[in-house]
């Protein structure tokens, strides 16, 4: 997040072949940083998932996971998130073609799909609370809401970045290389998606 556009030189249309600017590895600083951040996030979500796995069976005082989970609903919202990865990659591809209009369109669609996912999650949470599983009810509740909540916050942060990006593209306020900024936010977005791929299987499908 914070590392986007931290260091790109003024966008004055320099072509790096003309100027011989290179890094020791030939790779972009921004992308290296983003991949490292994502590698680090694996340990964050790994910890949360393990906590959930350890505690999912400890649900005294609330319905069990398989009674609570609404597989059709979650399947649909998982599908929505998966498709938002497609629209994101189309945005990146448009940005690389320097096609601002399509970039903005796809970014907006991605944000909307993400918002749909978050909406479904909010709905799911309220349902669970209504059925008797709160954050403090038991270990299952605490670890379930923490894990999925963390993921939801990541999606929300992604949506904010996408919307900010649309605004900045439309006003040409991005310092530096636009396509790369879109690509970086794309990487983050896809990462959030793959975390959900894991959560969907381990949390929702397997105990059923």
């Amino acid at each position: 997040m914070a590392d986007v556009a931290v260091h790109t030189p003024p966008a004055d249309g320099h072509d790096d072949h003309a100027h011989g600017h290179t890094t020791s590895t030939g790779l972009s600083n921004n992308k290296l940083a983003m991949w490292m951040f994502l590698g680090s996030e694996c340990l964050l979500f790994g910890g949360l998932i393990s906590t959930y796995m350890l505690y999912r069976g400890r649900h005294e005082g609330s319905p069990t996971p398989s009674q609570l989970y609404n597989i059709p609903l979650t399947s649909i919202s998982s599908f929505v998130l998966l498709m938002s990865s497609l629209t994101m990659v189309l945005a990146v591809s448009a940005a690389q073609r320097r096609d601002d209009r399509n970039t903005m369109t796809w970014l907006t669609v991605t944000a909307l799909l993400g918002a749909t996912f978050v909406g479904a999650q909010v709905f799911e949470f309220t349902e669970f609370v209504r059925e008797g599983l709160g954050f403090t009810t038991n270990l299952f509740g605490s670890s379930f809401f923490t894990l999925t909540g963390f993921h939801g916050v990541h999606v929300t942060v992604g949506i904010i970045m996408l919307m900010a990006l649309v605004g900045m593209v439309s006003r040409s306020r991005i310092p530096g290389d636009k396509a790369e900024v879109v690509e970086m936010i794309g990487l983050y977005w896809h990462f959030v998606d793959i975390v959900w791929i894991i959560i969907f299987t381990l949390v929702y499908l397997i105990p059923s």
Binding site: G20, E41, L43, L90, S93, I197
Partner: protein, 120 residues
């Protein structure tokens, strides 16, 4: 397009030789066509459908392994195609997968000490 850090010298063409690397640092020319991405997404959608379908039929002890395999396939597909790891530098893969494998390693080991897999 310059991904170069701003502290560098603006016009030093020479003296900035870099260690042998063959490719440009941009993302141009990498990855699939838009149609290709759509196809990948279709595959992912199908796999998701399959996963969900599996929870409604009884395939006995195969259930867990099959679901886990499907999960890994989906994961790797998104990482390789949508996130371009297949087309990008090995260094990116190396950074990301070391985080991933480290996470899997330490957390599985920790769960083992809880006798998590001893059947509960």
């Amino acid at each position: 397009m310059s991904t170069q850090h701003a502290t560098e010298v603006a016009d030093a063409h020479e003296g900035h030789a870099h260690e042998g690397h063959a490719h440009d640092d941009g993302a141009h020319g990498h990855g699939l066509t838009d149609m290709g991405y759509v196809k990948v997404a279709l595959v992912l959608a199908l796999l998701t459908g399959l996963e969900v379908a599996l929870t409604y039929v009884d395939i006995g002890s195969l259930f867990m392994p099959v679901l886990l395999i499907l999960m890994v396939i989906k994961f790797v597909t998104v990482v390789s195609f949508f996130m371009h790891l297949r087309f990008d530098s090995k260094i990116f893969s190396w950074l990301f997968y070391s985080g991933l494998f480290l996470a899997v390693g330490v957390y599985l080991a920790a769960l083992c000490t809880f006798q998590f897999f001893a059947g509960n």
